[in-house]
Symmetry: D2
Amino acid sequence: MLGNRKKYIVNGNSGIKAQIQFADQKQEFNKRPTKIGRRSLSRSISQSSTDSYSSAASYTDSSDDETSPRDKQQKNSKGSSDFCVKNIKQAEFGRREIEIAEQEMPALMALRKRAQGEKPLAGAKIVGCTHITAQTAFPVFAWKGESEDDFWWCIDRCVNVEGWQPNMILDDGGDLTHWIYKKYPNMFKKIKGIVEESVTGVHRLYQLSKAGKLCVPAMNVNDSVTKQKFDNLYCCRESILDGLKRTTDMMFGGKQVVVCGYGEVGKGCCAALKAMGSIVYVTEIDPICALQACMDGFRLVKLNEVIRQVDIVITCTGNKNVVTREHLDRMKNSCIVCNMGHSNTEIDVASLRTPELTWERVRSQVDHVIWPDGKRIVLLAEGRLLNLSCSTVPTFVLSITATTQALALIELYNAPEGRYKQDVYLLPKKMDEYVASLHLPTFDAHLTELTDEQAKYLGLNKNGPFKPNYYRY
Amino acid sequence: MLGNRKKYIVNGNSGIKAQIQFADQKQEFNKRPTKIGRRSLSRSISQSSTDSYSSAASYTDSSDDETSPRDKQQKNSKGSSDFCVKNIKQAEFGRREIEIAEQEMPALMALRKRAQGEKPLAGAKIVGCTHITAQTAFPVFAWKGESEDDFWWCIDRCVNVEGWQPNMILDDGGDLTHWIYKKYPNMFKKIKGIVEESVTGVHRLYQLSKAGKLCVPAMNVNDSVTKQKFDNLYCCRESILDGLKRTTDMMFGGKQVVVCGYGEVGKGCCAALKAMGSIVYVTEIDPICALQACMDGFRLVKLNEVIRQVDIVITCTGNKNVVTREHLDRMKNSCIVCNMGHSNTEIDVASLRTPELTWERVRSQVDHVIWPDGKRIVLLAEGRLLNLSCSTVPTFVLSITATTQALALIELYNAPEGRYKQDVYLLPKKMDEYVASLHLPTFDAHLTELTDEQAKYLGLNKNGPFKPNYYRY
Amino acid sequence: MLGNRKKYIVNGNSGIKAQIQFADQKQEFNKRPTKIGRRSLSRSISQSSTDSYSSAASYTDSSDDETSPRDKQQKNSKGSSDFCVKNIKQAEFGRREIEIAEQEMPALMALRKRAQGEKPLAGAKIVGCTHITAQTAFPVFAWKGESEDDFWWCIDRCVNVEGWQPNMILDDGGDLTHWIYKKYPNMFKKIKGIVEESVTGVHRLYQLSKAGKLCVPAMNVNDSVTKQKFDNLYCCRESILDGLKRTTDMMFGGKQVVVCGYGEVGKGCCAALKAMGSIVYVTEIDPICALQACMDGFRLVKLNEVIRQVDIVITCTGNKNVVTREHLDRMKNSCIVCNMGHSNTEIDVASLRTPELTWERVRSQVDHVIWPDGKRIVLLAEGRLLNLSCSTVPTFVLSITATTQALALIELYNAPEGRYKQDVYLLPKKMDEYVASLHLPTFDAHLTELTDEQAKYLGLNKNGPFKPNYYRY
Amino acid sequence: MLGNRKKYIVNGNSGIKAQIQFADQKQEFNKRPTKIGRRSLSRSISQSSTDSYSSAASYTDSSDDETSPRDKQQKNSKGSSDFCVKNIKQAEFGRREIEIAEQEMPALMALRKRAQGEKPLAGAKIVGCTHITAQTAFPVFAWKGESEDDFWWCIDRCVNVEGWQPNMILDDGGDLTHWIYKKYPNMFKKIKGIVEESVTGVHRLYQLSKAGKLCVPAMNVNDSVTKQKFDNLYCCRESILDGLKRTTDMMFGGKQVVVCGYGEVGKGCCAALKAMGSIVYVTEIDPICALQACMDGFRLVKLNEVIRQVDIVITCTGNKNVVTREHLDRMKNSCIVCNMGHSNTEIDVASLRTPELTWERVRSQVDHVIWPDGKRIVLLAEGRLLNLSCSTVPTFVLSITATTQALALIELYNAPEGRYKQDVYLLPKKMDEYVASLHLPTFDAHLTELTDEQAKYLGLNKNGPFKPNYYRY
């Protein structure tokens, strides 16, 4: 993408991680798909965008095709077989999807254009593992419905390539990094850095660093300002409404809702529901976030205080067992329960798998769990992420993430010796600001420039960075 | 429903009008389904709720069944053949849907319970024609995909029944009323009144009245306060977001939107989009509504002023050619155009059917119209109602409407001679208030009662009505 | 104003009613000031705007001047003595205030300009009685601190004028109308109509009409759409915050507030406080307004349910004894109690005048009422209107009212014989729309005009009226 | 306060800095007042709260008393003369104000109660210099109307005390620290740390640190999370409305406003004005904040683009010459210009002091600047901070600040050797969280506690801190 390869986006199997590759004499970006198995995603992509095309696609995709992609012999138009997908014949359909997505990702396209001149990743050999959507494309190792074994097989096929060895890692969840640590530790000698975008993956990296086992620099792009705000606050403000509406067709006005957790995700959910006329209660463990909830006009309660009266329970904590069986027992009939946090353990769904309760699947992603007295709880996505399962992630958000990742790769790859040690770093603020500035034209937004006099007065460089590192936005 | 029949709801073919019937020795409610053909609906029901069940339903419904329902011989479980639907075997599935809907319509159920004692419609023989959804059920004459001819055939089968003659009309759009005027004018001798719920139907009634041709009392329930607020303001506040999201997966934050018309529908759309972070412009012809838009924080513009810069154009006017080809020519690439008003003429879609423009169906309800220079306009639902085509009407809103209709029927049927003349009436305010009060328990809302002293001070009856007729809420 | 006299505005004694007069050979507008005494105002003007100038004014106004204006001999610059104010020497200061106000009332100025050509009130002799503010000026009979007796004396001096008899009445509260009914009933023979702008005055007129005693047409401008929205919804949305802040310096964020009544005033208060981060509860007697509160995101409660926990109690009902001593006894320490409704009886303040409670005036308009156990209630404006006593009415709102009054006078004065009978009328919708349109330029708002084709399609005149009379906005 | 002295708050001269002292055998807190002269305050306290009492106070305060407090001989009730105020006879009035303030600062009182047992500041000798308000009291060196010379004299009187030497510094603006550096550098040998709360003071400390000249640990409490949010976002959200209303009585609905700067202050201003129905434009130099403005629904523009059309210009940048004479020349008639940022240089007021422009003081804090063609600009507070000059800082915000300062003092005073070096530190997150938790009871807010299992899962201590240092809230 940033060397002389134009695309890095594939065939639209959503909810799937992919090892990405670029193979080129100048610069390589190894990208191949694989499934995430049963692990929880920090925040991901729903099936909707591809599902929308399901009728169009169906005539090429006979549902009774039971052959594993691993057993198929496929070639792309250039004769290459270095990929593994369900059906390479859909490549043309995928190409059109890619082109539509490109139109909606002008910032990424602007970056690509600039990179075509500067070739900041010339010589880079990148192996990646991330989610595959209509917006992220290239021949990869990935298909919908991978088994756990398939998942690791795909990863291995990307890493263990005859005559090719990566010098950069682009990871999302830490599985790829984990695999190389476990199977090919010597590979790290040539690797200049890891770019990791997920909560879970970042957590693993900090643990490695703490234990003194991190052997290359790593960049935590999960916590870059721009990505955080879009992945969490702005995205969830919209997807909570979308997810609830698509699954339940409910009306928000007048509904009583409790939102567990007032981090960025919780803030987004609360703001949206309040705006739609819901009455929102908040639970928190952190007194600072709790005080924010108060000042934003939400009653701060313990879950027990309101559990009998609310119409909707939404978890946004990143914690486990926030909604317990005891809570579920006390909810009123028709109460909707869903999860917007980062794991599938926030609601103790396992506790509902008991003989006295009846599960009834009323539509895709919607279960009624029925108590002996007839009370029904409406459980969405079986407690997995609502916005992963029942909504979509807008292209714009993916553009923010992809631009951030690309800049992190460029920074790590081009950093002079010694700038980064064997530690975990946040994206330099100036690059964070650059990601933002690339996305402003979408809104026809006009930035003001400091005069020399003003820059001097403020003690700032006219081109940024504009804020101290501890600034909270 | 209000006599001794329990159900008046059918099999879940949405977007369809139905003639409703109750046939009972005490009280009859003749209800049969028919298609609306190509006429525009003032505000209606989407396909989503039934579509959600399509996978469940598909195994019983072979899509290659080309036999017209009119040619089928079907019997319900009680041996009756006085209906015409696609597949009576789905009755059981429909029954379950009805039961779920009942849970979500407690106000209507409360009214039914009360009516079971009082039997306010004993002796009533009601023929009706309205939209059929998961929430409105009973053996009817209706199926999805009716032709214009089918539509009128269904109406006729409901009206022209051997040994049965209606004494009340429940209409939605005025087609049923029109048919009886045209074919069976003598029937009006026994008819005690018409209840009409649509803009179009009410308009026709006022014209009949003006022309001195209205021969029975009619009640305009379209303009009852409670129904208006829910059908328009509250419902559209949610469905504009839902409709846009389901069709385009777009992000609302930062988008520039122009909303044409600041009536109740426009107010709902503007409030929702503003809350989601869109920048909203408004156009209006009425200076009072225009001033309201200003005070609510929207720039009041002519469409021409902003047409080049906006990302979304939404019409909510009830007018025609609000968005012309000239406007469409000037929109920027990827601009989304949709209609939330009451007709399909607000956007001049016909003007886009010219050779130099290419239409590309990118998914259900979404067309890209492509200009010779490559510019694409995203047209939703071909200019028909977005919330009809791409969103759903919540059960709660249907409950408001159904309760209003039922009370209007009761009022007209039981009114003493002379209370209503051959004219069009609004629902008495006290009944409007009663509809509202029946729906308050859903929100666990507790109404305050006037003390005797207070009622006297205000010059009000403690049980209402509480406001003068010109009160605007 | 609308004939050939330019000003109808006086010297800035706020919170005072005035009899307005214009005396001119072509057209007369008799306007003289008088105090409102102890009666409650429906909605009025605070002292702030004049108070702001008190230091500037103080050197001309020796506070020890105890002479009643009635005993002073004063002449204006033209030698006339047909007025009674505190100090005519402040006329120049008043003139400057008038000029500033004119700048902020462009709609009224536009109307005046048009009237200077058309002279629609030529021949009119108008006697008026209304509130005097910085925005309403002319030599009048009015001063701050009038006694009840002064008030009626001033009225009489305006009505009972040698060689001059009014033919139009402009009233606000009905006192002037009442006085003429009582003292000079024969005067009505020449009077063409009454324009009344207050709730109370309108109520009296409807009673007169009901009793068959109304002997001239009267126009209820209180209930014109534009005036209502500005006087209540838009004005109170701002003045509730202003009134609370000026008196208590409190922070709104996180505060629990109960608003009694969800009419236009209550809606404005609730919207503002919610936006500032307060948690708002609502009480209502009318189920329709109650349902609106629910859909707007407010818990509908009985006052008893929340009285122990709230930080602020606001009444907006128009009712009496909404907050009783029992409620006051149960409020928590430091609870703030105030009234935004139309009477001073909403809070049972009299019940607090008991020996065991101590009253402490902590600043202007703020009393601490202290219970034996030390609990303090913060009572604002002694239960009178908060926005009358502790906030201001923006010039823009006064402009709306004055324009509405002027158009009502013009309509009644010029109406052909028989258009208006001895009854109470609402302002014709077209004039209501005209008031709105005159105020749009302030917001640089651009109205769209119907094409001929569209007007025909809608069955409307291109110049309005645009809505049926029952339209609720 | 936190040893065995109960009060640290004085007589209510607002807008004044004070040197605070406690003198006690166990623990000392030296606190004396002084004026800030012409330097800019980062964020401060208005005169309103005391002004409200001006009439009450006036009879004791003869305005013609021209004797400087420095020349007066005064004694407090205990016979001490170690203070310098305008009139010690008002001590009783001040005492009552203190008691009212205490009721509104329960968090601070809770901390005091705890400290009375633990005596965490036993032995501390604190010299302080900060703003004096009704909420911050004790015999001090401070009066309203100090000259520059008075200001430094007061500081010196606090520092240079016979037989007493401070071991802690509590500063606000850095003047006290500067004075000791300059005059008594040896004093730092005994000083255990500096607590600084202002932007300016913190900036100076970082410069000292960078230059290697900081000789004791310093704590930057300005950037503690809780204080930042309240000082800026929450406080300004309310004070922008209050400041504009008190000075201009304007209506917000429909007004076009441009807010320069979208930091916390700008975010607060924008949110409030948007909620009141204003149309808000934003200017920014930082692309991240700019993108936030877009997503929050504000058009991002350069000031030039909208300067001709806006009704209000508000600066919130901390920068200089943001509004230039060129901008002022292009504003429309009656445009209001004000500053909410941290300096008085944001608006180039000096550029308006030219002969062709006429200044007219229309009321306190409001100037009309009149162009030769009659155009008037309404300049508030002569470009100084609007919320300092024309609004108030709620007690709750002062409580947050005071609690933060007290905890910072305790932390620095009790920290084990080596924890803090000669550098600038942020308040430890756990203490920041403690400040927040102390303020939750005000809102009847109930915090959730982690279970042991949850704490383990999250890798957190159950008592916090709950977030990594880079968390942005």
